[in-house]
Symmetry: C2
């Protein structure tokens, strides 16, 4: 029944599979939903999560399965492919299963050929809509976020132009924002390096307020973080009102509530709060909610999607961003702490390709052909690279979870290479399954599905890496040593001063620690593969997301605004004007 993934491109498989994708009313019947719980958007739909939660509140939660990965090559190691394959495999075993994944960002879609929809027979469909904005959540985030900046900059202009008496006529008090301490920037959903550092408000007295400003990519927005961690609309409204846009001249935080803009921001998020329903290529339900980029954002599918997924499905698969050192660490210490959900098992995705890179294989560059080491057997490189895999297994075990290692197989993998991974994984105490979902769909993922079903019977003794009482700098030290394998942490004077101030403020005691670090290495340096030794994690700044309740240590040189390359993907994208079909996306 599977499509021939060795001959067909992903988008060709998707096109075939999409022909029979359930329509909104068919999902409604298939999932036993009420009519008004399904909100159609063309051929896809959103689910009214408040109605579903309310109806199913007494139903016990299903099994909770997280999917993460080893440190990837720049090509990605198929975390979404594995999530989709696992769902398809559990489906073949007759289970009531579904998943929650993250929505891709327009930045990478327009910059790097490809998608975040999985691949081969383990795809999320419809692929074009998934890659190009879906039901508009990212646009809603952009509008909500940028409205706060409109409010801030207009207010600074008016406060400069008017005296207190004039302000009082409009029922405004002077906020007195310090223009050198504006923390928030604007967002756009593209890789726009030219907007990283800008000066705004040039002109006369009616042209805003002149100051430095910045753009980040949309997924790095605090509103995206809030969408990922909010419990419901009430919680989202409260969090949006606590976003710190900057500080006044006495050092006191100025928030979106001070700007009286938090209600209007929430109005723009009224539809985005509902997860979108998509499908695997074998027609199991896939919830899409919140965004990617665990390196610079939380990069988790949302707590709201997990809340309804755990009620609707007996096995609910949720995807964390990037490698286990950041994606799983945030799932573990941030998302699970906020949600109260306890996972039954984690699936750690690995590919032979990435293990060879960690073993010392040549550099892998997106868009260039793979060096020979990656397409011919080389057991030695794989064996050496397994130290990265074992490091991540040990990290997950620190949470009290024994992971299932999934070898996401590729047709160039050899028996001996796969056997080497199995040996290493099992020696580290983990289950291991080779999975051919890319080639065979659910039928290829039965070993993985069985390993997960079996692992879900284990007792989980879930524990966080650090208690909330631990001060920020100690927490970062714990994450650096225990998860990344660093010898310690070094702080710039500015970052340390900020960290100290945050530690001393009782309001921030229960804030999560949300690391900003490259996913391409366990360290802060993307060039260091395997398990880097004898290094110190440099922290150069600490951001505060007071609405999301995050303190975000910024490590290395990673930026909240990626750049567009000299050979970007948009060059090859077009529309067939007869059919309306988008070409060249994948």
């Amino acid at each position: 029944m599977a499509y021939d993934a060795t001959k067909l491109k992903d988008f060709e498989i998707a096109e075939q599979a999409e022909k029979n994708m359930p329509l909104p009313y068919e999902w409604q019947e298939k999932l036993g939903l009420q009519k008004d719980e399904v909100i159609p958007y063309g051929r896809i739909c959103k689910l009214d999560f408040m109605k579903i939660i309310d109806r199913l509140k007494d139903k016990p939660d299903g099994k909770f399965i997280e999917v993460t990965a080893i440190t990837p090559t720049p090509l990605g190691e198929g975390k979404t492919t594995t999530s989709m394959g696992l769902v398809e495999g559990l489906g073949k075993r007759g289970m009531n299963v579904g998943a929650a994944i993250r929505q891709p960002s327009g930045g990478p879609t327009m910059n790097i050929k490809g998608t975040a929809a999985g691949g081969g027979n383990a795809l999320a469909i419809p692929m074009t809509e998934f890659s190009l904005g879906l039901t508009g959540d990212l646009n809603d985030i952009m509008n909500a976020h940028n409205l706060a900046m409109v409010a801030l900059t207009a207010r600074m202009q008016h406060e400069r132009n008017y005296d207190d008496a004039e302000l009082a006529k409009r029922n405004l008090r002077r906020l007195d924002v310090d223009p050198t301490r504006v923390e928030m920037g604007w967002i756009i959903d593209f890789c726009a390096q030219a907007m990283r550092n800008i000066i705004i408000g040039i002109g006369g007295r009616m042209d805003g307020f002149m100051m430095k400003s910045k753009f980040g990519i949309a997924v790095s927005s605090e509103i995206m973080a809030i969408l990922a961690v909010a419990h419901d609309l009430k919680d989202m409204r409260e969090r949006i009102g606590k976003i710190i846009v900057g500080y006044d001249k006495k050092g006191k935080p100025v928030t979106t509530s001070d700007l009286e803009v938090a209600g209007a921001m929430t109005a723009f998020m009224r539809n985005a709060i509902n997860p979108t329903l998509m499908s695997t290529a074998e027609y199991q339900p896939v919830l899409v909610h919140a965004g990617p980029f665990a390196n610079i954002a939380i990069g988790q599918s949302s707590i709201i999607a997990d809340r309804i997924g755990l009620k609707m499905f007996d096995y609910h698969v949720t995807e964390s961003g990037f490698a286990a050192d950041i994606g799983f660490e945030k799932f573990w210490n941030v998302k699970c702490r906020f949600s109260g959900h306890v996972p039954n098992v984690s699936v750690l995705t690995a590919t032979i390709r990435a293990l060879k890179m960690h073993g010392g294989g040549p550099k892998v560059v997106a868009g260039r052909p793979l060096p020979e080491e990656y397409v011919k057997e080389n057991v030695g490189l794989v064996e050496k690279g397994c130290e990265n895999l074992v490091h991540h297994i040990n990290t997950i075990r620190k949470a009290g979870i024994n992971p299932v290692v999934c070898i996401n197989s590729f047709h160039t993998d050899t028996k001996d290479e796969i056997a080497a991974v199995r040996r290493a994984a099992e020696a580290a105490g983990a289950r291991c399954a080779m999975s051919e979902h890319w080639l065979k769909g659910g039928d290829g993922a039965l070993e993985l599905a069985d390993a997960v079903i079996d692992a879900c019977k284990d007792e989980v003794n879930f524990k966080f890496l650090y208690p909330l009482e631990m001060p920020l700098r100690q927490r970062v030290d714990a994450i650096a040593r225990e998860v990344y394998g660093a010898d310690g942490v070094s702080w710039t004077a500015e970052a340390e001063a900020k960290a100290k101030a945050f530690e001393e403020n009782p309001e921030y005691k229960d804030f999560a620690t949300m690391m900003v670090k490259t996913h391409l290495s366990l360290s802060h340096d993307p060039a260091l593969k395997g398990v880097p030794k004898g290094w110190t994690l440099p922290v150069r700044d600490v951001l505060i997301f007071a609405g999301a309740k995050f303190l975000c240590p910024m490590t290395g040189s990673i930026s909240l605004m990626p750049g567009t390359s000299s050979d970007p993907a948009y060059r090859r994208i077009d529309v067939d004007t007869e059919t309306g079909k988008v070409l060249g996306l994948f």
Copy 2:
């Protein structure tokens, strides 16, 4: 059957009416559409215009009715209210009727309390969705537009950093954009005066290209202009590829096609090309497509919406922006020229309030109570103000159309005031109808409906103000004298040099002339009411929209980016977190 508009607020009437608004599948039956021609977006839907046009291509067009207005007060004179009232009135007369209106912009919605959905019993519903993004067309425009700027700025960075050999490796030729001649800016759908003049690209060699830049409001985007005038997807694709982003160092235009980004931009517009279907409060169909702001944009509902409206309805009402000197003038000389559609009649909306202002009444300021002159009888002010009305009647007659003046009545209007308007309109040769659609819905608009039905029997001898062969500066002179009543036109040296260069280039011979001028006066000065005499129109710049095929003379000091006031509407907007309802929008 009408709601009590003197007691209920617009949003309360809308809430009642929305309870029985047809659902997508009900519209499908009601309008005799095929199942796959209706694309639901929650409770509302888009219509697949290509399928509908194709199915109905042999059906003759219905009657084509344009709605415009006299020079308005800053409060607006109810052009959309009159469009909705007229549709409801024609509906009461048993006609198969529908309308095409423009989608509001987030800028005014967040800045000035109110909506562009009409009012009283002459409303477009659902109002909240209409006011907050509808089916995402403005977001699509924003993404398509800003992607071009991402491509431009990234390319400028890479061309600075790489030599020709490095560029050739990526199959790129040097475009050599002149950073002092970048014409295109970024867009955002808010009034963000702080973004009018900015400097971007500050930082190192991977942080873009340092230069001046700017943001305009989304509706002023050339992509919005293209959406308004495109004939179909093929035409849209071609136009998007011709957008001039700037000039190279030899003065040659650099386009989106040169940046290889036009296909990807079109991909973001694939859904926006389909009009959205809304409803009057009496459940006639209302197509919503393209944007407002005839002062700084084309400000017309789209040609695509008219194309399907004229096929689907026997009477198709289309709305032009703002006052007849700009909204009607652009409908007449730009939109009808591009579409080939010939209108049967124009409806010229007037209110007693606006006529009094033109007669010398005190200043009207949004958000402040109306001065006494506007709420008590004052026939003298009305009579004097009618010179503005008569001026617009004469303009419309120059197109070969005899307009129907609609007095959009308000409960404070008196019999003698209305009689004064009738006398003036009829003396100028126009039909005149007093209409109470605000109070009574369709039942209040029967006189207007009958006048329009009658006028549609007139023979129309439609003629343009100027032939396409007329050079740009002569055209502007003709518009200034014949439509605005100016004594002539003055050009800055820069504007004249640009105009001359455009005139000499044979590629721009058939481009439309798209004036940028305030709507608050016949002149360029918003303070001058009535019919200003003895003045000259100052042109300070000429923009080129080579994809839309517009040359845009910029008059007076009007900006493409409005400002957010010191008491903006977002202060009063919030969300009811129990029900998800948006509060305080209206």
